[in-house]
């Protein structure tokens, strides 16, 4: 594949978890792509496969999960066939991740200095401890930590949740990756701290020009931060388009329903609940996985899996009835 400004292309990715209860098809044929400099929202609820899909791209799927199929091109290079050594060099430098929960993704028994300089020293043998520390302190200052020179010696528990998330962001930025995954970066934070982190992510994006994948269920964040959206439902892509189109002219009943189900702070709306629950992925519904909750469902939806087709340039949807919406 020649390089056409596409930084990430995921094709038919399948990641299953082989549990005692059965095979969980967490990601079951997910495809999307994004251009350099874009921020893509990967939207979905619990169990939609949004986190597992990104873990698969970084090849950090925990056991008993396994990538069982698909292709992932990073900067034109297929990476699912790469050796673990090659992957290790890519992680951090080419792509990095801001994890959802900074409480569990920071190691409690090492100081911030130890944890963060370690990353630099591992990836860059030529540098010295002092230089690495300099970089860390500078970066901590950049993500808005007051007195980084002293606080770099602190341990994770000495920081508030918001500060820990800033540290997690700094850690992801250490090796200046060209692609940044942010997994629910504001979910566990207070509203006013959320705003701080949100603005920080924006300023980092414009400063580094990095591409970003924002994994979230919050349509507000998506509207604010992204220019492309891929909506996942039960391990498959429901719809993918530029952000404005997703909000204005969605062509999948799930996207439509999701938009009508979220309360807004700027106006009072008539909430339309989506009936039922997110399906069990060991025995997912046949045909279109959304059909048991979909008000447009017909017989064909129960039997045939709708293919993800490009219905307008840059706008794909996986619905038998998209033209009726």
């Amino acid at each position: 594949m020649e390089n056409d400004g596409t930084i990430l292309k995921v094709k038919d990715l399948q990641t299953y978890f082989f549990t005692e209860a059965g095979v969980v098809r967490a990601v079951d044929g997910v495809s999307f792509e994004m251009k350099k400099g874009e921020t893509m929202g990967l939207v979905g609820e619990t169990g939609s496969g949004k986190t597992v899909a990104t873990y698969s791209v970084m090849r950090i799927v925990p056991r008993p999960g396994k990538i069982v199929g698909g292709l992932v091109y990073f900067d034109g290079d297929e990476i699912l066939r790469k050796s673990e050594d090659e992957m290790r060099r890519l992680r951090g430098r080419a792509m990095a991740m801001i994890f959802q929960d900074p409480n569990s993704s920071l190691n409690p028994v090492f100081s911030i200095e130890e944890q963060l300089t370690d990353i630099i020293l591992t990836h860059d043998g030529g540098t010295t401890k002092e230089k690495a520390k300099d970089t860390v302190v500078k970066l901590l200052g950049k993500v808005g930590m007051p007195e980084p020179e002293t606080r770099v010696r602190w341990y994770p528990h000495q920081f508030s949740g918001g500060m820990r998330q800033r540290i997690a962001i700094a850690r992801a930025l250490l090796l200046s990756p060209s692609l940044l995954f942010a997994d629910e970066p504001t979910t566990n934070l207070d509203v006013t701290i959320q705003a701080q982190v949100l603005e920080l992510l924006k300023s980092i994006r414009s400063e580094t020009g990095a591409s970003m994948v924002l994994i979230t269920h919050d349509m507000g964040l998506v509207a604010d931060l992204t220019n492309r959206v891929t909506v996942l439902y039960a391990g498959r892509v429901a719809e993918s388009a530029d952000t404005l189109t997703i909000f204005r002219k969605p062509l999948h009943p799930y996207t439509l329903a999701l938009l009508k189900a979220v309360p807004r702070v700027d106006e009072k709306v008539q909430l339309e609940a989506i009936p039922g629950n997110v399906p069990n992925l060991i025995y997912p519904p046949g045909g279109c996985r959304f059909h048991p909750r979909c008000k447009y469902a017909t017989d064909i939806c129960k039997e045939k899996v709708p293919p993800l087709e490009e219905v307008h340039p840059g706008h794909s949807t996986a619905c038998h009835h998209w033209s009726e919406l």
């Binding site: 508030s160 207070d190 705003a195 979220v262 009072k268 609940a273």
Partner: protein, 337 residues
């Protein structure tokens, strides 16, 4: 008694509620009292019949403690809670079992975490009928009929009654918790973040259920949440808390469109709106919520407020009426009119 007893008087009246938690130094033998967490510091509000009051604020602002203190799940340090004119604080203080039980029947709570608040070893039938056993207000013969009616009311099926909590999704568990709260025919439900642990697509189901119940059963709610969007959706009036105090209260329409306290303004502007073409001017507050053990002098919000003056650092602003039915605790609230 005057004839309009039910008309003129609020259902719940909270007066000067204070809840402090003692903080001790470490050690076994010489544990010294080193201070108090001022979880709730002198707040007053009321809820009318059939009304929903939204109580919003960030973590640690005292909103959950307020809810628990009203139900005496946490004993208030001081202050009075009146329910239909009856002094609930006194009822609980005296502790006469009969009166306590009947007061408990008036007010019930729906908890935040539907995984932790249901006993995993009880079936749904046992969970929902347990209040009948405790309060004895339903003859045993009618238990099953009532349980099935309650399940139906909250949108569950009769066959769910024989199942255990682990067999349900989060949204369904929250429905079970609501059915249990309704089992004593309460007049007021304190709902503490009832949707925040649920999936987005399921949140709307529970919010709609609560609003339906209000219409059908004439219930009143104290809806506690950090999620302003859901508060706007469900409550007629809203009170905003910061560090143990109410800083602003008004009708939801008013507070969400014309806030008069700098904290409310920042809080509202911090929330991303699900519309890519609608951009808000975001007010990013510096710093974090200060410790409630040693709250800032003067206005508690002053270290993070861009309008703060010397007066704010010295003098605590009282919650006062700025315009009709709109109160704010800011020295300069008039300037924001």
């Amino acid at each position: 008694m005057e004839p309009d007893k039910n008309g003129g008087q609020p259902l719940l009246e909270v007066r000067n509620l204070v809840k402090h938690f003692p903080v001790y130094s470490r050690g076994i033998l010489l544990r010294k009292l080193v201070g108090h967490v001022h979880a709730v510091d002198d707040i007053s509000f009321s809820i009318d019949r059939g009304e929903t009051l939204g109580l919003v604020g960030e973590s640690g602002c005292g909103k959950t403690t307020t809810g628990k203190a009203i139900l005496h799940l946490e004993w208030p340090t001081s202050g009075r809670i009146h329910f239909e004119g009856e002094d609930a604080t006194e009822v609980f203080d005296i502790g006469d079992a009969k009166r306590v039980l009947s007061m408990r029947r008036n007010m019930q709570m729906v908890f935040q975490n539907p995984y932790g608040s249901l006993d995993p070893r009880m079936t749904v039938y046992d969970i929902v009928s347990e209040p009948f056993r405790i309060h004895g207000h339903v003859p045993r013969k009618q238990w099953s009929e009532r349980v099935y009616a309650l399940l139906k009311l909250v949108g569950l099926e009769p066959y769910h009654a024989e199942r255990y909590p682990h067999e349900f999704s989060g949204g369904q568990r929250q429905r079970i918790g609501i059915a249990r709260a309704l089992a004593v025919d309460p007049k007021l439900i304190v709902a503490d973040e009832p949707v925040s642990s649920l999936d987005v697509s399921v949140r709307a189901q529970i919010l709609n259920l609560l609003m339906d119940l209000q219409k059908k059963e004439g219930l009143s709610f104290l809806y506690i949440s950090h999620d302003l969007s859901s508060v706007r959706q469900i409550s007629r009036r809203t009170a905003v808390m910061y560090l143990g105090q109410i800083v602003e209260t008004a009708s939801s329409e008013e507070i969400f469109s014309k806030p008069l306290h700098p904290y409310t303004m920042a809080l509202l502007s911090a929330i991303p709106i699900p519309d890519p073409e609608k951009k808000v001017m975001r007010i990013v507050l510096p710093g974090e919520v200060p410790s409630a053990i040693d709250p800032p002098k003067g206005c508690r919000f002053n270290p993070r407020c861009k309008y703060a003056t010397d007066k704010c650092r010295a003098e605590e602003p009282a919650l006062r009426e700025i315009k009709k039915n709109h109160q704010a605790a800011c020295h300069y609230a008039e300037d924001f009119l």
